[in-house]
């Protein structure tokens, strides 16, 4: 009996020690994880939130707000750095803790939201705004927009961008109407005695000439679904001005003649060799390098690329109106652009310990982003009227775009502005299939029809 009691006691001790051991280990692991992850985005948020709470609770002075935004290239770094500098003067007690946004279609942000770790301020796309609205994880900014004078500074053309479907403001947009531009290397066209293509027949001729010289006609970064969707959209808008926007809103069907014709035309262009063979595994850096180094003659990207393209190629780069099926369609289509604005921008976490302050800061940063984009990125296509002038002359391509804009009658959407996430996912992957040259136009139409059903 004694032995049995003793053995039970020993077992209990062993088990208890193991549990305590586990408990300690778990605590240590968490501590280690937290300390290690100070470098990572998620833990940064937690640490910052805690810090912010502590600081406001105790001293009421220094407040650190976490901000989740893009910080990858000059177009995103310059505005952020400028905003931080300006913030120091306007809000000396506020410090920003940057969490660099991942190019992951909002997956990181959704995960942070699911685990209750949303940053104080975050850059939200239309899709995210709609998702977080349902879960009350995005602050209504109507009052802040009014009290700070944000609404008064908004350009009339961008008024719609501030409001969500339910009529509320959930994010302060800094980008205005944006456009998909079809860039081309003027020097390469001149060297090969080619005119800027106006029709698809002209384009097919250019493809043939460039391919015979070992030049990639158009470098696409098809690893990113938005670029392949944009490639489809620039063709689709030649047949129907609504492009992918009409499909997203459900006012058109993929089986409509215009979209079928657009798919077939793109299939024909791909078969002729418009894009590089490995377009679907090419990323932005690789495609851009091809274009800027003269290995590729054309490139499809947003108007934000004007600055970088001009810096690298100088006068040898320009953008063209999208080629169309014939001269008449080309002329008519000059007024219909792919791209457009979206209800996206800086949003605020309503559960933040300093939500009201964060909302004010978000508005301030938005304004400063617009200023920096105008002054240092020579991009007047911002959401707000900042009253600022660029530090040097606008690049020729931007001037050309500015001159064209008054005549633009319609735009579509970038994929981040689409509201139907099923359609968004479908058009990105199906257009990737189409530009790969391994999926036929018929497959594209049939699959998209299935997806939309």
């Amino acid at each position: 009996m004694k032995k049995r009691l003793l053995s039970s006691l020993v077992c209990l001790t062993v088990a208890a020690t193991s549990l305590i051991g586990c408990g300690n280990a778990a605590a240590t692991t968490t501590d280690t994880a937290v300390s290690t992850e100070t470098k990572t985005e998620a833990a940064d948020t937690t640490a910052t939130e805690t810090k912010a709470e502590d600081t406001t609770a105790t001293s009421g002075e220094k407040v650190t707000l976490s901000i989740y935004t893009q910080y990858a290239d000059d177009d995103t770094k310059v505005p952020y750095d400028y905003a931080v500098e300006q913030l120091k003067e306007a809000y000396p007690n506020v410090e920003l803790n940057l969490i660099v946004q991942a190019q992951d279609d909002g997956q990181t942000l959704k995960t942070l939201a699911a685990t209750g770790q949303l940053p104080d301020i975050y850059q939200a796309s239309t899709d995210l705004i709609n998702t977080f609205r349902e879960s009350n994880q995005i602050m209504v900014l109507n009052d802040v927009a009014e009290s700070t004078g944000f609404l008064d500074k908004l350009y009339d053309a961008n008024k719609d961008l501030a409001y969500a479907e339910d009529g509320n403001i959930y994010a302060f947009p800094f980008s205005g109407q944006e456009y998909v531009l079809w860039y081309y290397n003027k020097a390469l066209f001149a060297e090969n005695n080619l005119e800027v293509p106006q029709t698809y027949d002209d384009l097919l001729n250019c493809i043939e000439v460039f391919k015979s010289k070992g030049i990639t006609p158009l470098a696409l970064f098809g690893q990113e679904g938005w670029n392949t969707a944009a490639a489809f959209d620039v063709v689709a808008t030649r047949y129907t001005a609504g492009g992918i926007k009409a499909l997203d809103e459900g006012t058109a069907k993929i089986t409509d003649e215009a979209y079928v014709n657009a798919a077939k035309k793109l299939e024909e262009l791909v078969a002729a060799g418009l894009f590089q063979e490995d377009a679907t595994t090419t990323n932005y850096d690789q495609a851009s390098e091809k274009f800027l180094s003269g290995e590729a003659a054309m490139f499809i990207n947003g108007q934000w690329y004007i600055e970088d393209a001009t810096k690298a190629l100088g006068d040898n780069v320009d953008w063209m109106f999208y080629p169309a099926q014939d001269a008449a369609a080309y002329t008519a289509g000059k007024a219909a652009f792919s791209g457009g604005g979206s209800a996206s921008g800086f949003a605020v976490n309503p559960d933040s310990a300093n939500a009201e302050l964060a909302a004010e800061v978000a508005e301030f940063i938005t304004e400063k982003y617009c200023e920096a984009k105008v002054m240092y990125r020579h991009n007047p296509l911002v959401a707000l009227n900042t009253g600022k002038e660029p530090d040097s002359e606008y690049p020729a391509m931007m001037k050309k775009l500015s001159d064209t804009l008054p005549s633009v009658t319609s735009t579509t959407k970038f994929t981040w502005g689409l509201t139907n996430s099923t359609f968004n996912d479908g058009i990105q992957s199906e257009s990737q299939g189409l530009v790969s040259g391994q999926f036929t136009a018929d497959e594209f139409i049939a699959d998209m029809e299935d997806i939309m059903e």
Partner: protein, 303 residues
């Protein structure tokens, strides 16, 4: 020892910590996966019960069949490649007369200790359109230039090869350890009986490694079913989801479309597939004694 094994309280106390961890971190989440797969949960709001809708949608989804086909191809390629080469290499370096054994043992294992991201970046550079492999063909005067990672049919084989190349060393290490545990006497006896090296390995090494092979088979096949990282880095699941797997479907539905319910339905099917594979492997590798006992029981029943 018998005394302790007879003490039910002791047994319970010893297994309790592991059991608690298993239940908390494995069992309950798996049950949750199955439960949420019957809802329209978006990851953030309260889920609504939708019955079998997610499963019906899944079974009629083109990508579901592509994913299953890819998993099968992936599993077969990595299993054949890893087990075949790991066995050949392990037997080769087990020969004590061989020079450079230590070097080869380390060399075969090096890819295992590399990060998957590093390995994928390495192979991505080799396999890209202007990559090393195509350049080699070009230098050799061949026009056999391929779109290795962008081909809707071939890409999955290439991805499977990359995975197999990296993890072969792991199975190699397991088989080497298995070979070391076989007493040298068996080989000596076989040699005295005039058995060749190849025959000795066929008759002694491979049959005695049955348990090791069983383990290797399980990790290869379930690894194939769960495959995700390589396709995510090398092809992003493209072109047009042609290199998707069920894990990728789950990831895409949950994180891109905020449709966790649908994603978890894909995950549930994946869990069932993994369990089925393990059951089949366990059935194939049953003990001979167990088989005999089953045979006896069957005879008794018939009598």
């Amino acid at each position: 020892m018998k005394k302790y094994m007879g003490n039910k309280l002791a047994i319970l106390l010893f297994i309790l910590p592991a059991l608690a961890i298993f239940i908390t971190f494995d069992f309950i989440p798996i049950i949750q996966v199955f439960a949420y797969s019957f809802t329209d949960w978006n990851g953030l709001t309260m889920p609504n019960f939708t019955g079998l809708k997610n499963y019906l949608d899944l079974f009629t989804d083109r990508v579901f069949f592509t994913s299953n086909r890819n998993q099968l191809i992936f599993a077969i390629v990595i299993t054949v490649y890893q087990m075949l080469f790991a066995t050949v290499f392990a037997i080769t370096i087990s020969d004590k007369k061989m020079n450079g054994r230590k070097f080869l043992r380390v060399a075969y294992f090096i890819p295992v200790i590399l990060s998957v991201t590093v390995v994928c970046q390495l192979w991505s550079a080799i396999l890209s359109g202007e990559g090393l492999l195509n350049k080699l063909f070009e230098v050799a005067g061949s026009d056999f230039k391929q779109n290795w990672l962008g081909d809707r049919y071939k890409a999955i084989y290439v991805i499977a090869f990359v995975n197999a190349w990296q993890w072969m060393g792991y199975q190699f290490a397991l088989i080497v350890a298995g070979i070391k545990s076989i007493p040298a006497d068996y080989y000596e006896a076989a040699r005295i009986d005039g058995c060749s090296n190849v025959k000795a390995h066929m008759k002694i090494t491979i049959p005695l490694l049955a348990e090791t092979y069983k383990f290797c088979l399980i990790i290869s096949l379930t690894g194939g079913i769960k495959a995700f990282t390589e396709m995510n880095i090398l092809t992003g699941g493209g072109p047009n989801k042609s290199t998707f797997t069920l894990t990728y479907m789950m990831y895409n539905a949950a994180f891109k479309k905020s449709d966790y319910g649908y994603g978890l339905a894909a995950a549930s099917v994946m869990v069932i597939e993994c369990m089925l594979v393990m059951l089949v492997i366990n059935f194939i590798f049953r003990d001979k004694d167990q088989k005999k006992e089953e045979e006896k029981a069957r005879r008794k029943r018939n009598a």
